[in-house]
Amino acid sequence: MNGDVVTLAMGGGGKETNELIETIFKKHFENPDLTADDAAVLDFPPGKLAFTTDGFIVSPVDFPGGNIGKISVCGTVNDLACMGAVPLYLSCAFVIEEGFPVAKLDEIASAMEKTAAEAGVRIVAGDTKVAGKGQVDGVFITTTGIGRVMDGVHTAGSSAEPGDAVIVTGDIGRHGCAILLARNNFDITAERLTSDCAPLAHTVQDVLAATKNVHVIRDATRGGVGTVLYEIAHQSNVGIVLEQKNIPVNGEVKGVCGMLGLEPLYLACEGRMVIFAPEPEAPAILEVLRRGKYSEKAAVIGKVISDYAGRVIVNTEIGSQTMLPQPGGELLPRIC
């Protein structure tokens, strides 16, 4: 079957559907909670639950550092982590274009298996539909996740306070940049540049184990860190001041942005959190992050002030102050 392509019959619910499920999805997702029944029946620990869903339509489906399967698990796991939740269960729904290679589907499911295992989450429900040629582009995946919110954690976009430090968990803009180059429209190559796509469940759990005094955690996906900062500035009605020289940007990303006139703060990330916590907590948070697998380059990039509510100010490299341009205009289509 692995040499084959997906056919409309595989979405028909009959023998071919079962074969696809057995050879691809069951093989990779197998766990005691995933059954052949109509719904998963699950145990939940007591306490508050976090619940989220996200659709993924990445083009191209493969990119340096990941594929649509990996990103579909990371995206939902990271959304749960933002609320201080330990991810427990995921569902996934596939819409596959007729003619899509089965071997490619196997790679995607394999990436989901690996990423879910790393994040400590089980895939317990799924659905497969096949659409006619041209009705979808390759494969679209929707994942839904449930997690258990850690006791004593209260994060929200409206909770940033003057005096908070603004921390990013790593260098910014790599996913957006990697996708841009993978599309090959610009004849630019950056061989060492990979997407930052990563599951951050443990990263966040480690931070919250060190301190629960964290006001906001948000993953910077579409729109990048700059968009997150404006969202928080509005939701919390505060100003944010960034220190340009402290913003970690990798050399390749800087080079590509220079050539194409892009601002790294507005390039997508898929494995970066923006954390707001009272300044005295920042050293402990940074110490934990810098020991982490996906957050070695974590840095304090700015702070929250009461002035300039709703605005993001940049202390530039020459010591002047300027406003970070408001997010808007065309974002790259179909990056996550």
């Binding site: 960034l242 020289k245 100010i313 002047s320 102050q321 300027t322 406003m323």
Partner: protein
Amino acid sequence: MADCVKDGAAAAAEKILKSYSGRPLRIMEVCGTHTHEIFRLGIRNILPENIRLISGPGCPVCVTPTGFIDEAVMLALDHGCTIATFGDLVRVPGTEMSLAGARSKGAHIEVVYSPLDSVVYAGTHPGEQVVFLSVGFETTTPAACISVRQAKQKGLGNYSLLTANKTMDNAYAALKDSADAFLYPGHVSVITGTKIYERLRDEGVSGVVTGFTAGEILAALAVVVTEIQKGGPFFRNCYPRVVTDEGNVNALKLMKDTMIPVDAEWRGIGTIPQSGLTLNDSYAAFDARKKYALPKITGKPDPACRCGDVLRGECSPDGCACFGTACTPEHPVGACMVSGEGACAAYYKYGPGLALSADKENMNI
């Protein structure tokens, strides 16, 4: 960020600028990328009040007249041509509609990164008539010239250029009363060389060529201020690591062998004699105006838009009644609001400047 560290030169330059106490100065940055960097770096915010930076006409999209967009729309809708263009031009308003508007009426618009991509497109789509919208200064024009040469070599009968290429030298002379000195464009000067600036100096026009880092821009401004205090017209090359006297000889020859100078209309400024380039007789078959026998079109820009005054430095973007209300980057009325390099778009994005509060201490991190 090696070039972003506040090095000794930048600090010294800043000191010279801040201590300037002479007559009010108007310095025009000609290049759109300079405009963008000056905003991004917050340079206006550290200059004293008597040094004013004016954004000049160096964004090729911004100076492209309304009539050019009308011609492109006509080629797309009436002649069924595929329009290959830089993305910025798609949203520039024409008299009746932009190319985006034409697209919604069925026009085929292909956004390309380089004119060379549009020749490749023409080669792989022989059933379509492809017209590349050839705007730009000396930096972009050589690539457009190469594209028609490639098309001629390959015998492509389905490729042509709609030219609105411009050269800077006559524009400086036309704008000389708008500013005390020019920051000449770095990239254009790589091609043109600096001899034209020496000629302009001899005609009484002052300026310096500079690069794009914080240190380079600040140093160039400090040189302008110092030279003006000495008196007399001047020229200095503050970007010698890439700008030479002769310029790029090959690129200049390529343009000379492919195009000829013509009078050109600049949006808001009017016609500047011999400031445009169009294809010469050897490449007449690739000139869309000739190929499709386009009538002479005079575009009618929105009368409320003050892009022209902005380009001449006579009005700051927020002095226009449309700015930020009728005219935004999402719904531009004038071209200066469209391109990322346009003065209005930069003002809109970065704000007119921060009135820093007493809380400044608190903003140090």
